[in-house]
């Protein structure tokens, strides 16, 4: 068999974005040996692209905010599909996690009183997004990176993990390869934390980088864990649309938080149309542009503009406007923030200003941006225990975007940056506990051999398709059939095409050798993407209603019966099995918080 190298850690953390780094801090604080695997260089993970802020009810803005309101907003925004215990933990602990970042050295923008400044965002009742201009993710990842590095972890940069190794006692390690030279490494660990992020790359237009191929969720599935809410993929309302080179790149929600106005191609401010105001938000938003304008300077006595509805609602409204023929010249809508004045825009949205100026030749202080929804985030993911982040596999934990449950059917902006802090820490602490009870177990040579064979096969084939060809076809069918608007017809066609792609992906060929070879790397990534695409499509087919991010044109209503179940996906043999799992009943103290909101 192919020779391989072995390394050992007490705890192995796969993924070095915010969740992985926060988990590492907890592991290192406990004095354990911690290995962190990162597909990219350290500090380049997707967290770096988060812009608007980290939501936590610090209450610094003279508004009656507290964790209960954050709890309620998150559940209402998630269309009631969230795991209520996860949301409770999250809304509570988000506050301490943000304050802790300041102790680590983060430098947030300040209020006049010198406290952390908070901005409004979609679906949040009060100003709640703790931010640094529009580069909050960079601040967060650099802060966590510096903190973790100062505590002495082993960081394996540019390694890719492709399989979890298991025994009858649960997870025992993983197989990885080094991207720079292609050598194989077996990592033994007493506990493993998955913090591998999402899987937006299977769509054509996405704000996600090459890394978002869903490796962690697919590997967990293959190791025996189940996934939850896989049909729930977030389409961010505002991606760049023009020029084509920039299509899909994120335009932060902070633009709307700072007063940005959406207009269709005819100049109409369409978010005020009654058809776009969902029942559960009625009466909570400004009912005229005049009130929305007053809100900019007086938030106590005026309601928020409807541009600040949650992302699922705004994305759908934009999609419908364009479909009805009211789009802009390139088939999007306009997002206009010019009324805030050049100085204000450059101070609060500096990276948006720079992004549009340098990449799109658009001066956002003087002209509107052209935007269209882009695939942004995956609410679904690995099914975990709310308190411990434990998956169905002993010793295996998951946190952040790769885990599911917290965000339900739609994530509120700003909740992901605090998600990764709250549950990154909890996953780290759980891994510490597991590592104290578990030991390094022998690994299965046959599991290693099977993975190595799969990994190296494309290099040995001279005939066969290039991964880029199949990846492109995958993006096309997912974009066309599993995007904002879904139907039985489209999803079924997508599923049969997926079967075809899966077969063809068994015969991939990659030219060249094992040294830093992106074509070869993409071949393995593609198998993860195909697996998760199927999980999305099968779940979307099964949920015969519209809720949150899932909009079925053949089942346009929200069905209360469907509000009582989550869908889970498990792997049986080589088949994905979708199961309806009842939501746990909400305990009285949380129900009381929900009822307060109805007053």
């Amino acid at each position: 068999m192919e020779p391989y190298e072995t390394v050992k850690h007490d705890v192995l953390i796969i993924g070095a974005g915010g969740a992985g780094l926060r988990a590492a801090i907890s592991v290192l604080e406990a004095g354990l040996d911690c290995g962190i695997v990162s597909k990219s260089l350290l500090g380049k993970a997707h967290t770096v692209m988060a812009e608007g802020g980290a939501a936590a009810a610090l209450g610094n803005m003279h508004e009656p905010d507290d964790w209960r309101v954050h709890f309620r907003d998150t559940i209402v925004g998630g269309a009631y599909l969230n795991n209520h215990r996860m949301v409770e933990i999250f809304a509570h602990e988000a506050i301490d996690r943000v304050l802790e970042l300041e102790e680590y050295g983060a430098v947030f923008d300040r209020t006049p009183e010198g406290l952390i400044a908070q901005r409004p965002f979609g679906g949040h009742t009060y100003r709640r997004l703790n931010h640094v201009g529009d580069r909050t993710g960079l601040e967060l990842i650099r802060t966590l990176q510096d903190r973790a590095v100062s505590m002495g972890p082993t960081v394996h940069m540019e390694w890719t993990v492709t399989r979890l190794l298991t025994s009858d006692r649960g997870v025992v390690g993983a197989v990885a390869y080094d991207r720079s030279d292609g050598r194989i490494i077996v990592i033994q660990a007493k506990a493993v934390v998955l913090a591998t992020g999402g899987w937006g790359r299977m769509y054509r237009y996405t704000s996600n980088s090459w890394e978002s191929t869903g490796d962690g969720a697919a590997m967990a599935l293959e190791a025996g864990a189940d996934l939850i809410d896989m049909e729930m993929v977030q389409f961010h309302p505002t991606g760049m649309l023009w020029p084509p080179s920039m299509r899909g790149i994120l335009v932060t929600e902070a633009v709307r938080g700072e007063g940005g106005i959406l207009r269709n191609g005819t100049g109409e401010r369409f978010m005020f149309k009654p058809e776009y105001m969902p029942e559960r938000y009625q009466g909570k938003f400004a009912d005229s542009p005049e009130e929305a304008a007053r809100w900019l300077d007086d938030k106590q006595n005026n309601r928020r503009p409807p541009e600040l509805l949650p992302r699922d609602e705004v994305a759908r409204a934009i999609y419908k406007e364009v479909r009805a023929g009211r789009g802009t010249v390139h088939g999007g809508v306009h997002l206009d923030v010019t009324h805030r004045g050049a100085a204000y825009i450059r101070r609060k949205l500096p990276s948006m200003y720079e992004q549009f100026m340098a990449l799109g030749s658009v001066d956002i202080t003087a002209e509107p941006m052209e935007v269209y929804p882009t695939v942004h985030y995956t609410m679904g993911g690995i099914h975990v225990d709310a308190d411990t982040c434990q998956t169905a596999v002993p010793g295996l934990f998951a946190a952040g975007e790769c885990a599911g449950g917290l965000h339900g059917a739609n994530r509120l902006g700003g909740n992901s940056l605090t998600d990764i802090l709250v549950f990154g820490r909890r996953a780290g602490l759980s891994a510490v506990e597991a590592a104290s009870e578990r030991k390094h177990e022998p690994i299965s040579e046959s599991q290693v051999a099977a993975e190595v064979e799969l990994l190296l096969a494309p290099l040995g084939r001279t005939q066969g398709e290039k991964p880029s060809v199949i990846a492109s076809e995958l993006q096309e069918i997912m974009q066309n059939n599993a995007m904002i608007e879904r139907s039985h017809e489209g999803l079924t066609a997508c599923l049969s095409k997926l079967q075809e792609l899966k077969e063809r992906a068994g015969r991939l060929s990659a030219a060249g050798d094992r040294r830093y070879n992106p074509g070869w790397h993409a071949a393995r990534d593609l198998l993860f993407q195909l697996r998760l695409s199927e999980a999305i499509v099968r779940s979307a087919l099964e949920r015969k209603e519209s809720r949150g991010a899932q909009w079925r044109s053949d089942y346009p209503a929200t069905d209360p019966e469907w509000g009582k179940v989550n869908l889970t996906v498990a792997l049986r043999g080589d088949e994905l099995v979708v199961t309806r799992v009842p939501l746990p009943p909400m305990p009285e103290h949380l129900q009381a918080i929900m009822n307060e909101g109805k007053k």
Binding site: H46, E113, S209, S245, M246, L359, G519, W520
Partner: protein, 248 residues
């Protein structure tokens, strides 16, 4: 814009290499990274480069385009091709080559590990309070996306190969961010002089010119740090006190 351009991309590794030419189709707004992706997808999947965000926020895709250190994702092709439609793309030069456009930048991460982290002054009340005007200096430095373009143009590192003596502009910026944090209590002047080698910078400001985040590296970070070190170690009165007290 031309319909097609010719990219001459360096292909090779530490043992040597050469430019190879690829013809690529253009489209509106195209950046050099798009052209590299087109080559990878349609012509040669073995071409190695780093990238992540494609929006100038992660600092992964640094390269030398027509000899200029740039982020490939922020470099529009029409600003770079010549009369014959040619653009030359090479790896950044200061760090050892791994393959094609990918270099070994691990030295930078080792340097980062050695920098004394923030320690908030004891007794500071919670929640922490800081004025916006006081945090802005540190915030400028914290915009750094670690693309290492400043490191690759720094004469001390690039021409004199003194990675043993000087941390380079990226880490001057990092130390400045810590030093100018309003609540930090760590004394880094001796570290700056001895380990970080701030004295090696001769203020040519090349780093400042290439920074994609427009950080005033030399003016706002390095010069003030040099002044602090000078105050501590080269102030005549302090020098006299040190000599009399026997302190170094």
């Amino acid at each position: 814009m031309r319909d097609t351009i010719r990219l001459r991309v360096f292909r090779g590794d530490a043992s040597g290499g050469e430019e190879r030419e690829y013809e690529v189709k253009t489209f509106p707004g195209m950046v050099v990274l798009d052209a590299i992706h087109q080559i990878q997808g349609e012509q040669d999947g073995t071409l190695a480069c780093r990238w992540n965000c494609k929006a100038a926020k992660c600092g992964s895709c640094s390269a030398e385009i027509n000899g200029l250190p740039r982020l490939m994702c922020k470099s529009r092709v029409e600003e770079f091709y010549d009369a014959a439609g040619v653009i030359r793309v090479h790896p950044i030069k200061t760090f050892p080559l791994i393959k094609d456009l990918v270099t070994d930048v691990s030295w930078n991460y080792k340097v980062a590990e050695s920098i004394p982290p923030l320690r908030i002054r004891e007794g500071t009340p919670r929640p922490l309070r800081m004025d916006q005007s006081d945090v802005e200096r540190a915030q400028e430095f914290r915009k750094c996306i670690e693309c290492f373009l400043c490191q690759t143009v720094c004469h001390v590192l690039r021409d004199h190969n003194r990675t043993d003596a000087y941390f380079g502009p990226r880490y001057m910026v990092k130390i400045a961010a810590l030093d100018m944090h309003p609540l930090d209590s760590v004394e880094r002047r001796s570290f700056l002089r001895r380990s970080a080698g701030v004295g090696y910078c001769n203020i040519t400001k090349c780093c400042q010119e290439v920074c994609p985040e427009h950080i005033h590296i030399t003016d706002n970070a390095i010069i003030p740090l040099k002044e602090r070190v000078a105050d501590e170690f080269y102030d005549p009165i302090r020098m006299l006190v040190r000599r009399l007290s026997g302190r170094k």
